[in-house]
Subunit: 480 residues, 2 copies
């Protein structure tokens, strides 16, 4: 594979993908998954060595009398771990507790991630903190009984996550009483992983699970694995959302580089998706690396290190694919839309504009209505705050169909095109769409006092979906 | 009346109101206005001296074969004028043109405002600018024929506004050909004013018109008048929205103080409402002051000048009432919600938090669903960007019913209350609601290292509505 680090990962991505297993998307034989989403659920996978997952039924929501809602992701040996948490000032208790655990352990010696759905344990005060700590402690105890997770004086080895309604206490005794059952159920098969991905769902309509195998430059043919699951269908916006993500790999990576790799991957993936602009109290994306596949340890954050560079691309690509599954399952979504903003003076400018478009209820309802109302795209471009790159006379907006047919220009350098509405309507019939906003369209006249076009090299992509009646239905009646 | 200038306008507002006419809300006998909104449409009014308004049917939207969609607001003599425009970088042509006209005339000698609905003349390039200029010029010509609006070498005397779909050219010849008809129809009756308020509607379900009479300290019993109309039901967010507002008064005010008075009034009114977080290309709020009622000219911006201070309060109160009509008519809205944030370190902090809550699709769908999901309020409080005033342990959230019944506390100093859900549901059945977020709730323990509570004196209110299925329907299918 290519060892060079191209700015956008595009080039060598193809090379990496060619070494990865094909993802096998098909119906998992569960009637409750909408037919249109079954293709996103894998029927098989190859999972990282040394990890096991298990689930149990707690009934966190009293109305749930049947489905597993507790998941345990466990490593046979202590792992390096890193996590990225919500920027919301009202951090949920599991966020506070997991963040503390990682700090105290400096990312070393983590054994497990325990997750419940049905209740977010958010805005639950001191009692909520105690509940989250109890979840971690009870999980630790399972391992201690196993004689392989002794107390080393640095506290819990378990990261805790919760997702669901805000402001209600966890039924903590029910949860801790079922933790041994989840531990007992641990296993490494595809079905185990899929059950766990299912147990962390809330309004998700399908479990989100991916796995891949890959190689690294310094270790030749040694095969490494990464697997990940995620959930989240509403309250999704950069930084990050009611979004949980757990990734496990058997590559040996030290905690510090692992943290850098995760930050870099999350920026272009979990922090580049938006369902509704709401950033939740609970978002957490965590990664565990146990080194079980052996080989050279990644111990540097030097981008010129071939293994580090390769791992950064692999993790970023994998995270993008995981994060996109969340958008595919956006609450009430009927569309999957990439907002690509190019020609900005900075990445931050490009991303602010893309986010502004992705958040606009008017853009999102127009997409739902299959209305080529590009004026609303322009409008959202124009009100993005704190952006220096937008000048109407250099702004060009297109629909880029994802079926390979040519781009449809809607506005060129601030002037509207005569749009073939029939073609626009056909493009909007498709589920996938790219909206491309070029901020540096000089029309070939760079000379006209626009000497700064050289600087306009930055681009950002945000993935989003439309706003439908169903979004309102789901969120107008979520707690009942 | 009180001449002191209390910080919040609350105190002397009552005194001013007692001198104002009662607004007479009743059905105007037009079947198409929803029954629940008829109370907001006045059946009579007392209008400023020296202003006349007229309308005509153009059919800007070809589907409109019947309703007047062109309005002319005209002064018999040249006026002082001021306007506030959108902050969107994609300024519509009428915004550019009106702003130029005001600059060139330094706010002097304005004779008219001409408004069309059905097409926003936004993102229409140079041709759109020419169209807007043609609208102004044709209006000027009506007055010149009248021998009372001669060209003084400082250009047009007409402000132009357009509202409707973005990115389409105006049918400018149809419009200019109907301008003489609107001019011919000018008159000063309540019906004239109401027809004009109706002609500027787009998705509005009712015309928004208010009028008042008042006195000023220095002129004793001399009666002054103010009248205003506004439109806008979607794409509404601070700074300002597809929102047009036109106010006329017969108080004599010089252009410079008039501009300051307008800026001050807009901050607490038109810039404190949010329907969907979208800021449009066209928003304009303009005021014309012709001095026709005589008396002392307001020529200072000195807040200690009794007339200036009184006028600031009157205009702010009047603007708040006008702006609230827009929220009452929010697209698909079933609720009228005041978000009041108190105890912030700055007005900016308070307003950012209030805006963040007002924009959250999750808060808005919960309000629609009558779901006391206050966790979402907290969540939106926590992700407000660039705010220093939010600390979970000092944050208290309540529902304040507007029927006079006691406040319902939902969260006290970061800890959830045991909420009487039945009472919460009852409160949410009501159309009007205040959500109060206190950021300085120390629980009486200021001593505990919280010495800065003294500074926490700032508050802001933003008015908003809920997000309903109907919002999606209206905006998914707006252009057809």
């Amino acid at each position: 594979m290519s060892l060079a680090r191209p700015g956008p990962r595009a080039l060598s991505r193809r090379l990496i993908l060619s070494k990865q297993q094909f993802r096998n998307y098909a119906a998992p034989g569960e009637g409750s998954i909408p037919a249109s989403k079954r293709k996103y659920v894998p029927t098989s996978g190859t999972y990282p060595l040394g990890f096991k997952v298990g689930t149990a039924h707690v009934g966190v929501k009293p109305s749930n009398t049947r489905f597993d809602d507790l998941a345990l992701i466990a490593a046979e040996d202590p792992c390096s771990a890193a996590a990225v948490f919500t920027t919301n000032k009202f951090q949920a208790a599991p966020v506070t507790v997991s963040s503390e655990i990682l700090k105290r352990r400096k990312g070393n010696g983590i054994r497990a991630v325990v997750v419940n759905s049905g209740c977010a344990n958010a805005v639950t005060g001191k009692a909520g903190i105690e509940d989250a700590e109890a979840m971690a402690k009870k999980t630790d105890e399972c391992f201690i009984k196993d004689n392989n997770g002794e107390d080393d004086g640095r506290g819990s080895r378990t990261l805790v996550m919760s997702t669901g309604v805000i402001g209600q206490r966890l039924p903590i005794e029910k949860i801790t009483s079922k933790l041994p059952a989840a531990y007992f159920n641990l296993g490494g098969t595809h079905d185990h992983w899929l059950s766990a991905a299912r147990a962390i769902m809330t309004t998700d309509t399908f479990p989100k699970l991916l796995s891949r195998t890959f190689t690294l430059p310094s270790t030749g043919d040694r095969r490494y694995h990464i697997a990940g699951m995620t959930k989240g269908a509403g309250m999704i916006h950069p930084n990050m959302a009611t979004l949980l993500g757990i990734m496990c790999t058997d590559v040996p990576i030290d905690p510090y580089p692992l943290r850098n790799l995760l930050l870099s991957a999350v920026k272009d993936s979990f922090n580049s998706i938006s369902i509704d602009g709401d950033t939740s109290t609970n978002d957490t994306v965590a990664i565990l690396a146990n080194g079980a596949a052996g080989g050279k340890v990644i111990s540097t954050t030097d981008a010129s290190d071939p293994d580090y560079a390769a791992m950064e691309e692999i993790l970023t690509d994998f995270s993008i694919d995981l994060a996109q599954l969340v958008v595919r399952d956006g609450e009430g979504a009927t569309k999957f839309v990439a907002i690509r903003v190019t020609g900005a003076r900075s990445y931050s400018d490009a991303k602010k504009v893309a986010n502004s478009i992705a958040r606009s209820p008017l853009v999102k309802t127009a997409l739902y209505g299959k209305d080529a109302n590009w004026g609303r795209i322009l409008c959202a471009t124009g009100y993005a705050e704190g952006v220096r790159s937008v000048e109407p006379s250099h702004t060009t907006v297109s629909f880029v169909p994802q079926d390979g047919s040519p781009e449809l220009k809607l506005l060129v350098r601030g002037e509207p095109e005569t749009v073939d509405e029939e073609r626009a309507a056909k493009i909007l019939e498709q589920e996938d769409l790219e909206i491309r906003v070029r901020l540096d369209d000089s029309g070939g006249h760079e000379a006209e006092g626009l000497g700064d076009f050289e600087e306009r090299k930055h681009e950002a992509v945000v993935w989003t979906c439309d706003f439908s009646h169903e979004y309102v239905t789901i969120n107008g009646d979520y707690r009942t």
